[in-house]
Symmetry: C2
Amino acid sequence: MKQNIYDNATFFKNYTALRASGINYNNFVEQPAIKSIISSLKGKSVLDLGCGDGHFSKYCIENGAESVIGVDISNNMIDRAKRINKDNHIEFLCMPMEDLKLSNQKFDLIISSLSIHYVEDYAELVRKINRLLKTNGEFIFSTEHPIVTARKGNNHWIKTKEGHKLHWAFDNYQEEGMREHDWYVDGVVVYHRTISTLINTLIESGLVLDEIIEPQSTSAGLKQMPKLINEKRRPSFIIIKSKKQN
Amino acid sequence: MKQNIYDNATFFKNYTALRASGINYNNFVEQPAIKSIISSLKGKSVLDLGCGDGHFSKYCIENGAESVIGVDISNNMIDRAKRINKDNHIEFLCMPMEDLKLSNQKFDLIISSLSIHYVEDYAELVRKINRLLKTNGEFIFSTEHPIVTARKGNNHWIKTKEGHKLHWAFDNYQEEGMREHDWYVDGVVVYHRTISTLINTLIESGLVLDEIIEPQSTSAGLKQMPKLINEKRRPSFIIIKSKKQN
């Protein structure tokens, strides 16, 4: 069963308010990093997996991409995408990315921003992505960092009574699989995978690893969201870029 | 200044006793993994960086390598290597691996077992290794895992009063550089580097990433050293294999 938390009304309302505020981890940590690692968008055909409200699909078109297909499991998200990020060069599809069938299309760039941690069968997805890439095509994705997803349970900053963060609690690293955590609603499910699984699976599928980023906050982020200084202490995200050489 | 802890008498005595016992992390966690990732030794010319007492150099010859150069900073270690692992096909050199100059030689395989965390300038070492590799040559090394080296200070398992391990304390990830810890003697220095630095530096030098292992204990290890079960909770080591394609 694929969880579709973004169609939960409570979650969706809180999540869209967070994103609309502009004051969040996406804007200050993850998005600047994933955008910086894209070689070029000029004239590219792009597949955006877990496109959400389509902001990144739109960004690709605004920066020279020729066409984008945005895919998301959530009706709420795709409805919103069609409203606020409509564009003649973007096609939005509502379905789990795992179920995608595009037998006659290949892409220059496949991106996925903070969605792949929701996917249970990573190896199968990577094989599909490899098939959907043109030669020299790039696959770039961001995901929750294994250092963050490893330990079971919530509340991993260990704090003094006064709330001072002592250290990050780390555990359960080699036990891959489901992790539930609370984020606006109880029991949001993500899948923990080790760093070796994230990387070796790409290489086994035939992709070539190109670069990894473990991003920190931008300086604007540190001013507007001082707690982002903690990204120096433990990274929330990892961004992995690979390419298809033949 | 390059620290040469293995020429400290107290350290050397304790370390050689630990290795001689056979009951250690090397034998049960790191060595089985690094040996498993070598494609083939048959007929290969090998450079063993941080060869210590030469056991791994000897292993390479016993498993078909044609020649090995073993390099170590420690006189104690090289003396011992020449005594206990002498072989006509092995040449042992006493010098810091950073100072190695072998302008007319190239190798099929460069290995380094748990030594590179002692090296301050990783990027410079990787460039040198790339120059010393033949086309299709492999570079395989193990190092302390960034998850283990990240936090400053000692004693990172947080325990109850009864000694039960609650979790591993993690911190300071993005602050690369020196870490001092106590291991038989005070102030053993290793260098913490992030996972992205470990990997991107290889790729930037022109090497192609081939595989990563974050090893767990062998079953023999779990029987003889029950605490190795904790390798499931947080990995002590990471092993990285890359190759030179042109």
